[in-house]
């Protein structure tokens, strides 16, 4: 695959670094009891968010899951409203009403994060349909986990997308586990997404999800095809989450050898080494690291300074007229 231009390479590195530091901070805030509820971190899976978003146009659409901070940040949503949303503050992306699992930023085409497994896949088809109706060349990208390939909505969505040749890309982040169960133990085929592709007339596509440039090229090819009317793609990106499934899950159900093997394949140091070998000045990368740290610190302070939600918010935005009074 061709080397990407250095400006793009540095973007990929910056996105991954920012996401990594953001997620680490989210974990710390959770441990300090500042994030109520739960969080599902994308630590270890940054290359997929960074590579895919880099291949998208600004007016393309993203659908993600409860493990979606990474996809939202990668599309350029500033850190402060995302962090504030995790903290449930009024300066959050959804003013604290969505929380970690339900990020949404329509101004950047992020049409929601969904915490019912598979729900976003069928909805993404609708947004892809809308681009067709308007006659625009916008592409919709939706993320899913390996576990999601076993729910009905996945199959309904792929069939729909294939039948109508919709401009939609399904990106399965195969991190080998659905919560605590190895995906291989509960799936009829070895490759949960790729081995299903043929059922819908699609090519099986597997990519090393920890190789950010490989992800970028694979996504760019699929997105380009969809933009030109070539229909949907299903991409399986192999990766691993560094932490547990959610909250403070230490992930003890995973064999130590396996964890060790995958930590050695951490996408960020790997990419840093690639960039250095290509002659990128180390000071430039250090500068990106430093700015990312500062950005996360600033976002944390701004988020913490945000007001706690007013109690009235619990009862608003249920119906279009704003009122809940009718029903209570």
């Amino acid at each position: 695959m061709p080397e990407v231009p250095q400006s793009v390479a540095l973007e990929l590195y910056r996105k991954m670094t920012e996401i990594r530091l953001f997620e680490k901070r989210a974990y710390d805030l959770f441990m300090q009891n500042l994030v109520k509820g739960t969080t599902h971190l994308g630590t270890g899976q940054e290359a997929i968010a960074a590579g895919v978003s880099q291949a998208m146009n600004d007016d393309d659409y993203t659908f993600t899951t409860y493990r979606g901070h990474n996809h939202v940040l990668a599309r350029g949503t500033p850190m402060t409203p995302v962090m504030a949303e995790l903290l449930g503050r009024e300066n959050g992306l959804m003013h604290g009403k969505g929380g970690s699992m339900h990020l949404l930023d329509t101004s950047r085409g992020i049409l929601g994060a969904y915490a019912i497994i598979g729900a976003q896949l069928v909805i993404a088809n609708g947004s892809a349909f809308s681009a067709r109706y308007r006659g625009t060349r916008q592409v919709t990208v939706t993320f899913l986990g390996d576990g999601a390939t076993n729910i009905g909505a996945f199959h309904e969505a792929l069939n729909f997308a294939a039948v109508y040749k919709l401009p939609v890309i399904f990106i399965c982040e195969n991190n080998k586990y659905m919560e605590y169960t190895p995906i291989g133990a509960v799936t009829a085929v070895p490759r949960p997404a790729a081995d299903r592709a043929a059922s819908y007339g699609l090519e099986p596509v597997v990519v090393d999800g920890n190789d950010v440039e490989a992800v970028y090229h694979t996504a760019a090819a699929a997105i380009g095809k969809a933009r030109d009317g070539g229909g949907p793609s299903l991409i399986e990106a192999l990766t691993y989450r560094h932490g547990g499934h959610s909250r403070a899950d230490p992930g003890k159900y995973r064999p130590a050898e396996e964890v060790k093997e995958w930590l050695a394949k951490d996408p960020i140091p790997a990419y840093r080494a690639v960039l250095l070998s290509r002659g990128v000045d180390e000071a430039v990368l250090d500068g990106i690291d430093k700015s990312a740290r500062e950005a996360v610190d600033k976002a944390t302070e701004e988020a913490k300074a945000g007001p706690e939600p007013r109690i009235e918010l619990a009862e608003t935005n249920v119906w279009a007229d704003g009122g809940h009074a009718w029903r209570n």
């Binding site: 049409l111 929601g112 909805i123 609708g126 947004s127 919709t140 909505a153 309904e156 119906w319």
Partner: protein
């Protein structure tokens, strides 16, 4: 004025909505070429094209999910579910996404999706094809739930539902699809009462009979029969099951002092329970008798040879009316 069946009234209403707003789309199984199993969308694909009246795969969650995605981008999709019992595979999308997205996004997104569901029994069509699942949806905050009762109502209510910025679960009384009524197809939906208003079908003074959907006709016939015995029953068609038009309900019950609620859905935890509780709270000192309920039994929908027994008829409605005079 034209004389139309309820099914045709819906068809004309949908046609108007498609004409008035290019963002309106229809999707569902067999809705296009066939025109739907009850022919409600008959001829619409021919006139508006395959892109606006879409024959979908057999995938209820896929249909409703796609509609949500379209609504997220400003479209107003109308989904047809073939029969009441087939809505359950879409429940996840309806309850977990459609109803909740406005709330969780703090009003940043609006999902004007209409889901049309033929409901109720009486056509010998057994379970999955004769059920009344309205209360599952009425219980879910964020959805409007309505039921139409005749052709004229169907014509205006479907247009109002499509114009609503809330998601609407739109119930159609399937055994009344072939009933005819006069419909003014030239009238706009604004000349009709709003979607959330109940309507007095027959005025009366002695007892209030609340109902909706297929039983509006049954209850009207019961009221006319009771008149011959000198009993004056006020029949109210609720139209909107969520929200409830409590002003119309309490206005009537405060006057009559007696109330019966009738629906085909099982009585247990049905809409009648909610209404009875609210009337008790709001009209306690006006009541001469407890609010009584008539409805289906706490069983799955029975086989067709037994459905007459399950469905509230004139006798069961009038028996309940009589019982309100026993206190």
């Amino acid at each position: 004025m034209s004389t139309l069946t309820l099914s045709r009234g819906l068809n004309e209403g949908l046609r108007k909505a498609l004409e008035d707003d290019p963002k309106v789309l229809i999707m569902g199984e067999d809705v296009g070429k066939l025109g739907g199993v009850f022919r409600v969308t008959d001829g619409l694909q021919k006139d508006f094209g395959e892109h606006r009246v879409v024959d979908t795969p057999l995938a209820e969650s896929g249909i409703v999910g796609t509609a949500i995605g379209l609504a997220l981008r400003g479209y107003r999709p109308v989904c047809e579910i073939q029969f009441d019992g087939f809505v359950f595979p879409a429940t996840d999308q309806i309850v977990s996404q459609l109803a909740k997205m406005r709330y969780r996004s703090r009003g940043q997104v609006s999902l004007p999706v209409v889901i049309r569901i033929p409901f109720g029994g009486g056509i010998g069509a057994v379970e999955h094809h004769s059920e009344s699942p309205e209360v599952f949806f009425a219980h879910t905050a964020g959805l409007r739930v309505v039921a139409c009762a005749d052709a004229a109502e169907a014509f205006t209510m479907i247009q109002q539902a499509i114009a609503s910025d809330d998601p609407v679960i739109f119930f159609e009384p399937k055994r009344r699809y072939w009933d005819k009524a006069e419909v003014d197809t030239a009238a706009g939906p604004d000349s009709a009462p709003p979607l959330e208003a109940a309507r007095v079908v027959l005025p009366g003074d002695d007892v209030t009979l609340l109902t909706y959907g297929p039983l509006v006709r049954t209850c009207s016939e019961a009221a006319l029969a009771a008149r011959t015995e000198g009993r004056s029953i006020e029949v109210i068609d609720l139209r909107s099951l969520s929200p409830l038009d409590m002003d119309t309900i309490t206005g009537s019950v405060s006057r009559t002092g007696r109330c019966v609620v009738a629906h085909e859905a099982p009585v247990y935890a049905g809409l009648g329970a909610e209404i009875a509780a609210r009337i008790t709270e709001q009209c306690f000192y006006h009541l001469e008798a407890p609010v009584l309920r008539v409805g289906g039994f706490a069983t799955p929908y029975p086989p067709s040879r037994l459905e007459e027994h399950f469905l509230p008829d004139l006798d069961r409605v009038l028996d309940a009316v009589d019982r309100t005079f026993a206190y």
